[in-house]
Symmetry: C2
DNA sequence: ACCTGAACACCGTTCAAGT
DNA sequence: ACCTGAACACCGTTCAAGT
């Protein structure tokens, strides 16, 4: 009855299934989403998996490799618009529109992880965040080629499209995840003689900022995204016909 | 700065002058520039200053505060175009051109630090990287206002300008600082049976990537920057007259 | 085959103690 | 006033040992 486990591929009916690289990565993503990147330590991740930290090293080549795997897992959720989401009639503009919104979904679903996607060095220098996987870039280039772009036009579009996504989505995800990294302490009132830089930074000397403060605070990130995307498409259209 | 001022102004003729917050921050920037952000530990920074790590806590509220100070110091090197660099004749286009290139200078001079500038949460939520200091934003808004922008146009320009800078310069700085973080080990030849993911990632299954590899590898970051900047100016011009 | 105990080097941070 | 020694909690990582 307590027989040593045979070849059985997945026969484990306990609540805590065996460790897997996939399960480790998924839990890591969850930990980042809920507590921030700084909270992702090997030991805490182990604890979430009911395992000692050292066990993770069977499936992951250290913390750096784990972070790499997290980024890859998230980027792999990007869906390249195919026959499912797109009518054959729709051109490259619809293709880029749908793709842009899926990358935006990724950024807003994982605001704490997006800086990793944005700043960790990709496997190859010509992979540009956030479209930083071979699969995604291949599909991106093919998608544009099959919709009328030639090679150099597709490459140029890859460059401008990634720059656009990175700038907008990094700012938007920063806005989203605002201040969740430093786990919300009840604010300390002491040390009133210190500069106290963060509480209410002194706007006194900045009349224009003071006047425009409420305008600056308004969140127009979605409008900005749509408008900038629209302008990018116009710009690409110009370059196509020249 | 209500710093604990010693009575003696600067009477220290030794090669190692006394500690200063400014000196600590400057050395930290240097450490990041030369060895990457991961190398910036309190202990190593102390060693560079011929001091024990604990001494730093007199001038800096821990590592997070130090990183904040590093970012602020770098952002403070941004020069807002004034009567010196700009003729009164020049309009807002010249103003933004000159400013954009100065921020680009910052990114290329400190490629390892730029991700910090890009991703650390600013002091106020309406401060957007990389123009994330009160001084810079005030001067930016005033600069545009004095050149014909009204309030909401200036605020809109702040949003699109920062998005543009962030996307382009983060990619360009990543390109610049490529792989200097993991201190250049002589590559290990062993373990040829493992996936060996990083050495030469397998392009076999990606025909388009294989074909366009050389095109993708070309560095056109400067052209991209100039072109995208030009298009942003055109776009802003349109919004001005509508 | 898979997980762990023990150990090591390094880290951030505090505080009483030195000068 | 300024710096340090000693200590603590936590971290990444290795490896022999357990089952």
């Amino acid at each position: 009855m307590p027989s040593p486990r045979p070849e059985v591929p997945s026969a484990n009916h306990t609540d805590r299934p065996g460790l897997t690289r996939a399960r480790i990565v998924a839990t890591a993503v969850d930990l980042i989403d809920t507590e921030g990147v700084a909270a992702l330590t090997m030991r805490r991740l182990g604890a979430r998996l009911d395992v000692e930290a050292m066990s993770l090293y069977r499936y992951v080549n250290g913390r750096e490799d784990l972070l790499e795997a997290v980024v890859d897992a998230l980027v792999d959720t990007i869906e390249i618009p195919g026959p499912g989401q797109l009518q054959p009639i729709d051109g490259w503009q619809a293709f880029l529109q749908v793709l842009a919104h899926d990358v935006r979904r990724l950024a807003l679903e994982h605001p704490a992880a997006f800086p990793l996607i944005a700043t960790r060095h990709p496997a190859a220098p010509w992979l540009r965040p956030p479209l930083r996987s071979l699969r995604v870039v291949e599909a991106f280039l093919d998608g544009l080629r099959s919709r009328g772009f030639n090679d150099s036009q597709a490459v140029a579009a890859y460059r401008s499209f990634t720059s656009f996504l990175l700038g907008h989505l990094l700012l938007e995800s920063a806005m989203q995840g605002a201040d969740m990294s430093p786990a919300e302490e009840p604010l300390d009132e002491g040390d009133a003689d210190l500069p106290n830089q963060d509480a209410e930074l002194s706007l006194a000397e900045y009349p224009t900022l003071t006047r425009l403060r409420s305008a600056l605070t308004e969140d127009h990130t979605e409008d900005e995204f749509e408008q900038a995307l629209e302008h990018l498409l116009v710009r690409l259209d110009l370059e196509l016909s020249q």
